[in-house]
Symmetry: C2
Subunit: 432 residues, 2 copies
């Protein structure tokens, strides 16, 4: 019996070079064939073949002439970000955001509406689907090129199955098949993750964390949570619940009970709920004119009100935020010693407070962490703000589709449209 010829379409070696070339073009790291050769270490023939293949699939296009280095000027290559589209949704505790994104993670159309996540998956996903349908109706071009769906939820997710697992603030969602429901309805592969992970991924791929390999993203809203990047990849942990800093015990002598049932949790003492509670008390006791006015307007005070009040110079709110910052800083000091990130990005509604919160966090971290761990540590506000989650959800989908594991599942068909069976890799690679 003779040796069968290698099957070209799925051969591992062809795939590696294809993924390498595609990654370089879509990252903008190499724009011409000679540059691709220098960055990838691949030979001219292989580069030429892979570029031709990517052009044939409509993923790469010819652009302007690039700079010449002596001979004929090489042709610039461009990533065709409009070759496909992705629908993304970010489900928060009190609002949902949905958007259409291109293959570069740019948000093209976006809708937001109030939603109580505790109303359960049926009601919430009905709304998500209504908004997805609306986007697809408005953009028939996108409907024809829908390649995948990405969803962030405010709780732990079993990434491989796309089901929330024991999410504390999402009653009714435990083990609900979010992924399967959307994949079946829209006939595209779907990925679901904890929103702090999609936010961290957004910051890593398009925000201030771009190119930084060890990052902690901290979301400070009603709850407090973190998303971790380790060596350029999301660290999800064994159960997919890494980053849960909200329930670290920070104070012993308190009777404030956290929604998790424990006493003294960071979130219960420093999150948006704690700020609202203390701000309401201050308003009622006549200690804050600004907050008393909010209360007089007939609606309850929330965490964002404290941020706004602080920006307007309300001393009570400034002190409340500083206290929150010190408690958060105490926990982050431990995180810095343990994880040694190069960058901490602070995001979330309460974090929009401005500099009071950030200054207090920095002060404690720099005092209480080891000098070596803080030598080059930067602690910054998110520059992406509330786009981080949606953009990260888009990158989650795009990185999975273009990964070495999943590209062979669809590349020979030219597109992953209509495929619902592309699995979730256990560790998203951040496109590397």
């Amino acid at each position: 019996m003779g040796e069968p010829a290698e099957r070209a379409p799925l051969a591992s070696e062809r795939l590696d070079s294809l993924v390498a070339v595609l990654d370089l073009v879509r990252a903008g790291a190499a724009a011409t064939r000679p540059e691709l050769g220098r960055h990838s270490g691949l030979g001219r023939t292989v580069i030429a073949q892979r570029v031709a293949e990517l052009m044939e699939h409509g993923l790469v296009g010819d652009g302007a002439l690039g700079p010449s280095t002596g001979g004929r000027a090489p042709r610039q290559l461009t990533f065709r970000a409009d070759a496909g589209h992705v629908l993304v949704a970010e489900l928060g505790a009190t609002a949902l955001n949905v958007a259409l994104a291109d293959l570069s993670g740019h948000l093209l159309t976006q809708y937001r509406e109030r939603n109580d996540i505790a109303a359960g998956p049926e009601r919430t996903l009905d709304r998500v689907e209504a908004l997805f349908d609306r986007i697809l109706a408005e953009r028939p071009d996108a409907a024809d090129l829908l390649w995948g769906i990405g969803v962030g939820v405010p709780g732990p997710v079993e990434f491989a199955t796309g089901r929330p697992i024991a999410p504390p603030i999402m009653p009714g969602w435990d083990d609900y098949p979010v992924r399967d429901r959307l994949a079946t309805r829209y006939r595209v592969s779907t990925w679901v993750d904890n929103e702090v992970n999609t936010m961290a991924l957004g910051e890593y791929r398009a925000g201030l964390a771009k190119g930084v390999d060890d990052v902690v993203y901290v979301k400070i809203g009603t709850g407090i949570g973190a998303g971790l990047i380790s060596g350029g990849r999301l660290h999800r942990g064994g159960q997919g619940c890494a980053g849960d800093v909200g329930h670290v015990a920070v104070v012993d002598d308190t009777d404030v009970v956290c929604r998790c049932g424990n006493v003294g949790c960071l979130e219960a003492l420093a999150g948006g709920g704690a700020l609202a509670r203390e701000g309401t008390r201050a308003a009622r006791e006549g200690r804050s004119g600004y907050l008393a006015e909010v209360l007089a307007s007939g609606r309850p005070i929330n965490g964002s009100d404290i941020s706004t009040a602080a920006r307007h110079g309300d001393p009570v709110s400034v002190e409340l935020l500083a206290r929150s910052g010190r408690l958060i800083g105490t926990t982050l000091a431990t995180v810095v010693n343990f994880y040694n990130p190069s960058l901490i990005v602070i995001g979330g509604q309460v974090a929009n407070a401005g500099d009071v919160l950030l200054a207090a966090i920095r002060q404690v971290v720099y005092r209480r962490s080891l000098p070596l761990a803080t030598r080059d540590l930067r602690i910054v506000h998110s520059a992406l703000g509330d786009r981080a989650g949606l953009m990260g959800a888009a990158y989650m989908v795009i990185d999975e589709l273009f990964s070495r594991q999943h590209l062979p599942l669809w590349i020979d068909a030219g597109s992953p449209r209509g495929r619902t069976d592309i699995p979730a890799a256990l560790v998203a690679t951040g496109g590397r």
Copy 2:
């Protein structure tokens, strides 16, 4: 001008399949050519070529006939672990261990002697070199096949350069060129890392953490430190000092000053030094007959004495260890929430205490961490014990040499012998 032919020796595609086949054989995951095909997805021709190439280089050998699945029984392949040798050293605070290892990380010859790391690099490395020379003199076969050197030190290391950076208990070692000194003397590439990282790597490659992707290794000796595995790779952090849990503040109302200068650090209250201090006090105050006898014998009490005393039922020592365990557990509860490991391996001299310490750690972690994070969490004693660091140092070298980045630097010469210029990858892959 015609296209030059692809240069076979360095082609990226050939390299990927070579590394894939070698990894499968040396991990024992595939023992025959058909198994290699199933595990790698590579075709028969490529497998046959790569196996032939590895045999030619002496890395793979033919073994017995494997089980037949119908046709002719396939030939078993074996990894030739004796094709090369590695020298390893583990420098502790008070002792140094050196060994010769084969390419499977097995320790072949081992020496241990007392050494005060604070005596500085000249004296310590003189002793390491004397023991290395002795091993090479006793094993001329190893001297002819020396492929690399691996060293673990008790402090942070800039992995890329192999220099300790601001190590708190290693006066005189800051920025000392450990790597360059040994590489120059023995004319082989050398890697240096924090010993907790080499220990974590040893546990991941050969201990209870084998095959577990998210692991925290905690060393409890005079100091307390941790090594982290994230998604199967060492997480070193931005400055290479990740895992420093010893200087987390655990108690506010104390006047115990830590060697780092802060007050209330975990290490100062729960490490071997704290146990020795409290044990000595108990002996002097007549509260522990067992420890009083140690003191009467004329030598100072150390952390291991407390462990031994506890195993003999000394109630004071049992309570001291339980208290240490509770403090360590408090810090690990935060680590579990933040990092969500599937496994915590406890090692180090004090950890040999037996079950008292481990039980106290478990109790606090399971009470204070989130239920989801502890659902499948195991907390176990190291089974490798004090071999973890040396074995891990060997794997560090072997994994670097056989990595996709570094294999092409030497494979066509047949061996990395005599090369001193193989660089350190920023993230060791744990052989994956």
